[in-house]
């Protein structure tokens, strides 16, 4: 970053800065809770795991959630045990608690996150914009085996990506890795065929429509449940494929959006642009 200073000075300065930062961090770590870890029972995550936010809200409204010294009484919130495959109509039906936080309890963050990726893709296109476009020629054309192989692999990868984001509320994964998996499948197609290029207009339409779908799901919540990004569907039984309300819908939108976006980014990077 610093351009004119001599090499040695720069290195000493860098070691100095890094040293100060790391010393600061280790001094901070010694003051962390026991074992350098957050105790889950002392954080709001406790309610997300117990799917108990409604109970806590009732206590908050009655004024018994905080004690006199403003300490939250998180362990006093009444709790109903959850059994996998049996409990139904919970306030949030996802078996994967991380998913329920990402999409439901802190859904607004995720809307912003989708936007960040969208803006990054748009920024790549703005920066790499050029008049002439040509697909680079490979020095050696890929063989027939490569061509057929990547196409077969693509269909399998596509299916796997869709599986990952549809089962986001049950298994690890979700919209973002699912979309990234699909995009890496499309990356494989670039390797397999001379002069391959996905339909750019199609990707744009896909991306826009899935993004709009996400915001419209949010606005539906505003209309139906009087709150932006609120769940307006029944939550079903925990562990079922058709459970967790709108989480699956949102993850499908996110998966399609991320997949098409990342494909568009790789496409913009691979295709050469020259300004004349």
């Amino acid at each position: 970053m610093m351009s004119d200073t001599p090499e040695v000075v720069k290195k000493v300065f860098a070691i100095f800065v890094v040293g100060i930062l790391i010393i600061g961090f280790f001094m901070a770590f010694t003051q962390m809770p026991k074992g350098n870890a957050v105790n889950v029972n002392d954080t709001v995550s406790r309610f997300y795991i117990m799917k108990d936010v409604d109970q806590a809200t009732q206590m908050l409204d009655k004024g018994t959630y905080f004690n006199k010294d403003m300490v939250p009484l998180r362990n006093d919130v009444p709790y109903t045990p959850i059994t996998f495959g049996k409990s139904s109509n919970l306030e949030d039906g996802a078996a994967n608690v991380v998913t329920s936080i990402v999409v439901d309890y802190r859904g607004f963050d995720t809307l912003g996150e989708v936007t960040v990726l969208f803006l990054a893709a748009s920024g790549v296109m703005l920066v790499l914009h050029g008049e002439k476009r040509k697909v680079p020629k490979k020095k050696t054309a890929p063989s027939e085996i490569m061509y057929v192989g990547t196409r077969i692999a693509f269909s399998v990868i596509l299916l796997f990506g869709i599986y990952v984001f549809i089962h986001g509320h049950l298994t690890p994964g979700g919209g973002f890795p699912g979309g990234a998996i699909i995009a890496s499948g499309i990356l494989g197609l670039f390797l397999g065929r001379q002069g391959y290029s996905p339909n750019k207009a199609g990707l744009t339409v896909f991306e826009s429509l899935s993004g709009m779908a996400y915001v419209i799901i949010g606005i539906t919540g505003l209309v139906a449940e009087k709150s932006f990004l609120a769940n307006f569907l029944p939550t079903g039984t925990i562990g079922d494929l058709f459970s967790a309300g709108f989480i699956a819908l949102i993850y499908i939108a996110i998966g399609m959006k991320v997949g098409s976006e990342l494909s568009a980014v790789t496409n913009a990077m691979i295709v050469d642009t020259e300004e004349d």
Binding site: P172, G174, I181, V265, T266, M269
Partner: protein, 84 residues
């Protein structure tokens, strides 16, 4: 057992970081960055965060490195030369 394995993994990622600092070739720097990401995603698995592990493996280690190498290919000298 898992403790030993994850400790080795930590040592591996830190070593990968040092390779990224000191290697002369840009390409080996980028590959070791990908390895660091992969090692970190393995650690996430031991740290009971399978969601994060999958995402880091697919996005951080996979696509990020791929985009890096594509960008380096566009710059013809990228793979062979450094600091030019």
């Amino acid at each position: 057992m898992i403790t030993l394995f994850s400790t080795l993994l930590v040592i591996l990622i830190v070593a990968g970081g040092f390779v990224a600092v000191f290697s002369k070739k840009l390409l080996s720097s980028v590959i070791s960055m990908g390895l660091v990401s992969l090692g970190v995603s393995g650690l996430f698995f031991f740290l009971q965060a399978p969601d994060v592990a999958i995402t880091e493996a697919a996005i951080g280690a996979g696509l990020s490195t791929a985009i890096f190498i594509i960008a380096m290919k566009k710059i013809q000298k990228g793979g062979t030369n450094d600091d030019e």
